[in-house]
Symmetry: C2
């Protein structure tokens, strides 16, 4: 059980943070190629009462570090939310990845039944580690990650679900799909998603 708590948290978050980093780099190149001010993408939102791309990316990293630190029983690193460029968001992702890299599987042992208490300005949330990971952290992480991706797709950035999934760990592919899953999607081969 405890081995699973590690395997289904830290490597999963790290995998998708790397995918998000690639997606944002594609977006930054796309802005340059189309002569669009990068701020247009960074400030974009799907609805006036939803968060901007910048905020979505900040929250993605917050859930990754917030979840893993709490499961591992160490202090959650606090990042100031002051990024205003793609480079600064990239630095934040890399800082999150460095923090995750320092956590060991042994620190997650027993975290499934351990009580996790989140002190927030507006109250307290508590769960056991299993429910915290599966009912709170993963759904929130994927929500903001998919929303960041959707904001960019909505703005015409040429990424596909292959970029969102990344090279799926442990997956073997045969036939036509092998090429699709291994290769970067292009305007020509990109499938609807």
């Amino acid at each position: 059980m405890s081995e699973l708590m590690y395997q289904s948290s830290k490597p999963v978050f790290a995998h998708h943070l790397k995918n998000l980093s690639e997606i944002l780099q594609t977006a930054a190149r796309d802005a340059k190629a189309r002569s669009i001010d990068p701020k247009v993408f960074l400030d974009a939102r799907l609805s006036p009462d939803m968060f901007s791309l910048t905020r979505q990316v900040q929250i993605v990293t917050d859930h990754a570090k917030g979840c893993c630190s709490r499961l591992a029983g160490v202090e959650t690193p606090v990042f100031v939310d002051n990024e205003t460029t793609f480079d600064e968001l990239e630095a934040r992702i890399q800082r999150t990845l460095s923090f995750l890299a320092g956590l060991k599987a042994s620190q997650f042992r027993g975290s499934d039944t351990r009580e996790i208490v989140m002190q927030l300005p507006i109250g307290t949330l508590s769960f056991n580690g299993f429910d915290f990971l599966n009912g709170w952290s993963l759904p929130n992480f994927y929500f903001h990650y998919a929303t960041a991706y959707n904001i960019l797709r909505h703005n015409g950035v040429g990424v596909g679900k292959r970029d969102f999934l990344g090279v799926v760990p442990g997956m073997k592919a045969k036939g036509k799909i092998a090429k699709m899953m291994a290769a970067k999607p292009t305007a020509k081969t990109k499938k609807k998603r």
Copy 2:
């Protein structure tokens, strides 16, 4: 390990399918209230080369039944993709929930190391059950679930992340946040997400 395979798949999918059902019911009511043809929402997409809301919902159910059937070692039920109304999408979600309800925890035992082979028209994908769940099914499921939600938010439907997360299993809340997490969001209290 095997107990975890069950706990982090079937109940997670079922939980979010119920949330999706509620979100779609809100959208259907909203269409009626704003005198919008429901087809406008059902056919909506975030980008011309992304799938419509209807297709997103179909794929959400496909990942839920595809994942749980394969982990449990039973045949995957095939649904014809012919839904054209909110009621028909609701029926598809309920059919998926009924199928999941029939699967027992014991059927998932050992699925973490079992080989999962997906035969597709364009090739074959294979993984062990753990990688299939964590690297393929959950990211895909959340991707299409969040995209369905984002399509509706983009069209002004009054749902919030509280609806996306649902009542988080095992979570206890104290203070102001307890009310926020328990109550349905309203136009007045809805937080940016």
